[in-house]
Subunit: 317 residues, 3 copies
């Protein structure tokens, strides 16, 4: 592979070419092997500093990035919205500029407002990695999902992918739709009409409200987390009603293809988006997604932090 990585930041899958996505997935393959070793550590980013700047709570995404950075031997700093001068009314950009002045190399940022990572990227020389912004994008989630599907099914091209749930508010769905489109999978989204963005078909995807038909046709079924707040905000009649109409259980899965892949970005609401049996069952790759998340984030950090102009060189890994 001779693709070169040219982006300063990782903000959205939308910005990446098919070749660039494939470069990330290829690079992640080498790094997945590192986390399976007895000594899970390579010196690739020794002496680099990666800041985790999280304005929303997150166990797994923060831990995944932090582990990825540490396994590359980078130093890490955690800054969360509580316990920082952010409570003194400083703007996000000001905070980031100050961190940059400390010669940090990368900022991994999660923020409830869409577009915040782009603002930082535009003003900073440091690398900015979007770890989820508002309802807009969560690129490393999409990349790890693509990695997991390719690992399980050997390809992305030509696959039929169903995405089920709250498409309207989901940065995971948005980033994955971009990724699937670029790699040649055909996406159908499914969910309550109140949680479907108007004009979603313009993204080049199909829409259905028949979960059973979707299950029969799909090679991959991606279930989105249902935020219980949606019910309070009247997007949903009730969580129970949602579970009955869109929840995936063993009974419904009987209609599926034999090698269907069931995905969920986590954390799951067992009994809502899917039954416990399905979550822990033979088709579920939910924990593989988590495992692959570390590898993909190692790849992203590696490609962005200056060593990734071409493929991973053997000597470094």
């Amino acid at each position: 592979m001779t693709t070169e990585w040219t982006h300063k930041d990782l903000l959205d899958v939308k910005d990446l070419s098919r070749e660039e996505i494939e470069l990330v997935l290829e690079t992640a393959k080498s790094f997945k092997e590192v986390s399976a070793r007895d000594v899970k550590k390579v010196p690739a980013l020794r002496g680099k500093t990666v800041v985790m700047l999280f304005f929303e709570n997150s166990t797994r995404t923060r831990a995944s990035f932090e582990l990825a950075a540490k396994r590359l031997s980078a130093d890490t700093i955690n800054i969360s919205a509580g316990g920082s001068s952010l409570s003194k009314g400083e703007t996000v950009l000001d905070t980031a500029r100050n961190l940059e002045a400390m010669n940090i190399d990368a900022i991994v940022v999660r923020h409830p407002s869409s577009g915040v990572p782009d603002v930082l990227a535009r003003h900073l020389k440091a690398v900015v990695i979007n770890a989820g912004d508002g309802c807009r994008a969560h690129p490393t989630q999409a990349l790890l999902d693509l990695f997991t599907i390719k690992e399980k099914l050997g390809k992305i091209d030509g696959l039929k992918v169903g995405i089920v749930g709250d498409i309207l508010h989901s940065r995971v769905a948005r980033s994955n739709i971009w990724g699937f489109n670029k790699l040649g999978a055909r996406v159908t989204v499914c969910g309550p009409s109140t949680l479907m963005p108007p004009g979603v078909e313009k993204l080049g995807i199909k829409v259905t409200n028949d979960i059973d038909e979707l299950i029969r046709e799909s090679d991959v079924l991606m279930l989105l987390r249902l935020q219980k707040e949606r019910q309070e905000n009247q997007f949903l009649p009730s969580v129970r009603e949602y579970a009955k109409r869109f929840g995936v259980n063993q009974e419904r899965l009987k209609q599926a293809k034999k090698d269907i892949v069931i995905m969920h970005p986590g954390p799951t609401n067992r009994g809502v988006e899917l039954s416990a049996e399905v979550a822990d069952g033979e088709y579920s790759v939910i924990l593989d997604q988590v495992t692959n998340g570390v590898a993909v984030r190692m790849a992203v950090l590696y490609l962005l932090l200056g060593k990734g102009k071409s493929k991973v060189e053997e000597g470094n890994v």
Copy 2:
């Protein structure tokens, strides 16, 4: 010593044989020397990942484990109940399974509910270390207490140990009683009858409510922290009354043996369980306990993380 360490996890002193306890203490001795060096670091666990998963606040236990892991060159990740997707209603086991999927090697868990570490241990391949669960067990505290006594008095066997305070709610007391029983010390517990578990004698120990007699007879006196909430919950008439009846001060200590050892797991309530003079006095080993805590936790991490099938090898330490 030819004992081999065979446990996957450390959940309770109850599960350990006398020989296994002694192996931990012996191993800790080598590691205590590491923390006294100018360069307090050995490469034993390089490339391993240890997660601190704390659902209760803790300065010293968390810091002690984190330092222990770092001095063994492991990478560490901190996750506390606030600031995590735990607030999204994910179960503890789900969180732990996700961490495990990230190829972490050990989870150090503290939780207000008894038995949580056992549930994790049963379902995970990763090492689980109980850093305190509910009122049930706090095994590393008992091990560091045993280490400290052996260091001060040269032996455990045959010693008379008094444990004073809220036995009913104390995981420290429970774990220590197991440890003392296994190593041949004779335990007497003392405290308000409302804070004494019914049938505590069945654990093979004696009960008294005469603190002065206990002081006269004991080689070791272990004072437990009094949670002030107990008063509100009507377990206690008043903290002042408790201090008067069970608090250890210089006057009372005059009756003690010359080389009595005064212990407290901390944090102390000065003026309640013991006077400031006693806490800082010549018999107190409270800060030794803290020092030894790091060494014992290094030993536990070392034995559990796969290098500890036999004794510490010279080359690694």
Copy 3:
């Protein structure tokens, strides 16, 4: 330079001789170069443990110290007031004594009460570094300010320095006044009379309430953060009034010397102490201060942690 560093702790600029301050600045120069490298890491403090003990929120000071320690290869532990047994009513000294018992090497402490670092320093063998105590002292801030001025203007001696704002409550002002006095700069303070300490002239400085005259005369203008709480507490008629009377904007700066240096310890209130144009303008060294903060804190950690009896030796950096 043959000055030797003899202090166990860094509590206040007041305690340092001119030569000692210059030793810090000289040492920081070597370390600034480290943070500009591709591999920002030297082994100077490998195997040392530095604890960040913060009882007040702080993004930048905590991050700056943490980065400084990590770039020197020390291990770091974060302890903040929430999430610690401090909420169990343990005294600060007790906490610190416990940390010391874990063989940590240095405690970096920030506390809302003046004098807390001194109490710790008096009772501990471990190194204590004051990262800001109440309204009293913030020595590393003053040292990084001196470093920045020297870097920009080539000297401190003989400079005219204006400090503007809430002198009464400012530990930054206090520490800087000590530093400027010792290095031969002449300080004039300026601000609302309600925010001026009575008898401030006794510190050997001048007082004015004419910001325009101060701007015309100063080589260096240091603006202090205005705490908005001051208005509620009736120290100030209104923030808007303050901004109008003491805020520095482009218009006002036209009267200044051509190479005036504008400083602010951050975080800034844009539109209050200074306009956005001035904060981002050609005279502002605000982000240089942040960059230099890491270098100065590396120097301080290095000098205090036992290798700094004389100058930095080449081999270590």
